[in-house]
């Protein structure tokens, strides 16, 4: 069964992911892709605490996730792949051609970012990366939880998403 959701969310594992998406999709596992978390036992233990019984979590660097992608994508259970920033997802997308859609789930304010949606703030550089991904055929939408409508990248960048 393919990974159902490729999500960029600076909170990584949290309520919207585990409950909001996890329950309706009947998610069996999460692949958390982050070079820093993948090399920190303490960080991994922290995020494991947030995952309910019956849901597995795998911690991978970008390189490892790309190498093992076919295996994850062939799992019998539904999976979610998470990164905390756009750059990590971009790096993964360049190595995994099967990655054809990206969900912007939560990118909150930081210096240099401009608000696009209640839960999406982007810097000019991040906007350009998303445009580049879209030009390569990757569908980029923003959607925090399944009950809300997805916002297209064009609408998001033109301020028509609210």
């Amino acid at each position: 069964m393919p990974i159902e959701l490729f999500r960029i969310d600076d909170r990584l594992i949290h309520g919207q992911v585990v409950v909001g998406w996890g329950q309706p999709l009947d998610v069996g596992f999460i692949v958390l892709v982050d070079d820093e978390v993948a090399t920190s036992e303490w960080e991994q233990e922290l995020y494991r605490l947030g995952v309910p019984p019956g849901m597995a979590v795998h911690f991978e660097t970008v390189a490892e996730a790309a190498d093992r992608f076919a295996r994850y994508n062939g799992e019998r259970q539904v999976g979610i792949l998470l990164t905390k920033d756009i750059e990590t997802m971009r790096r993964l997308a360049t190595r995994v051609p099967q990655l054809r859609s990206i969900n912007l789930g939560g990118l909150h304010y930081s210096a240099g970012r401009v608000q696009k949606l209640r839960y999406v703030f982007l810097s000019p550089g991040e906007e350009q990366v998303l445009r580049d991904l879209a030009s390569c055929g990757v569908e980029v939408t923003a959607q925090d939880v399944p009950a809300t409508r997805p916002v297209s990248l064009d609408a998001l960048l033109e301020g028509r998403g609210a």
């Binding site: 949290h14 309520g15 905390k84």
Partner: protein
């Protein structure tokens, strides 16, 4: 954050003893309910994560621990970002106790646990909250006991 420095029904000033950190308006609502029921304001400080990223949530919680002086953090959801943030704060502040899955009976119990340590009060309130979850009625239709 809700107002600190409130008083109880007898006019005695109460200092914050715990932070209540939840999604949306959860903390504000449940702290309001505790104050309405107990008449004790200012014991709990409400925090919301609306509009905050992961780093801001940790910073907010760390600042609240310092400014309020509270050493107990209640969070609403074990899988939530507040709980993750609370564990990060706990790493630097091992004197902080975290209780996750907070509900109203747990918080009511905590407010009245004034003569024990923070750790004891937190554990007692967690037991109270856990035990307060009861299913009433039955869809099995066995009422009446007729065979």
């Amino acid at each position: 954050m809700s107002d600190a420095g409130k008083s109880d029904a007898a006019g005695t000033a109460l200092v914050p003893r715990a932070l209540v950190a939840g999604h949306g308006e959860f903390a504000i609502g449940i702290v309001s309910a505790v104050e309405q029921i107990t008449g004790r304001g200012g014991v709990l400080v409400a925090l919301t994560n609306s509009g905050l990223g992961a780093d801001e949530i940790v910073r907010t919680l760390r600042d609240a621990v310092t400014s309020a002086g509270a050493r107990v953090i209640f969070t609403d959801l074990p899988a939530g970002s507040w709980t993750i943030a609370a564990r990060r704060v706990q790493r630097d502040r091992p004197d902080v106790v975290v209780v996750t899955g907070a509900n109203l009976p747990a918080l009511l119990d905590f407010v009245f646990q004034t003569h024990v340590t923070n750790d004891e009060a937190a554990r007692h309130s967690a037991d109270k909250g856990r035990g307060a979850m009861v299913v009433l009625g039955s869809s099995g239709g066995s009422a009446g006991g007729a065979d």
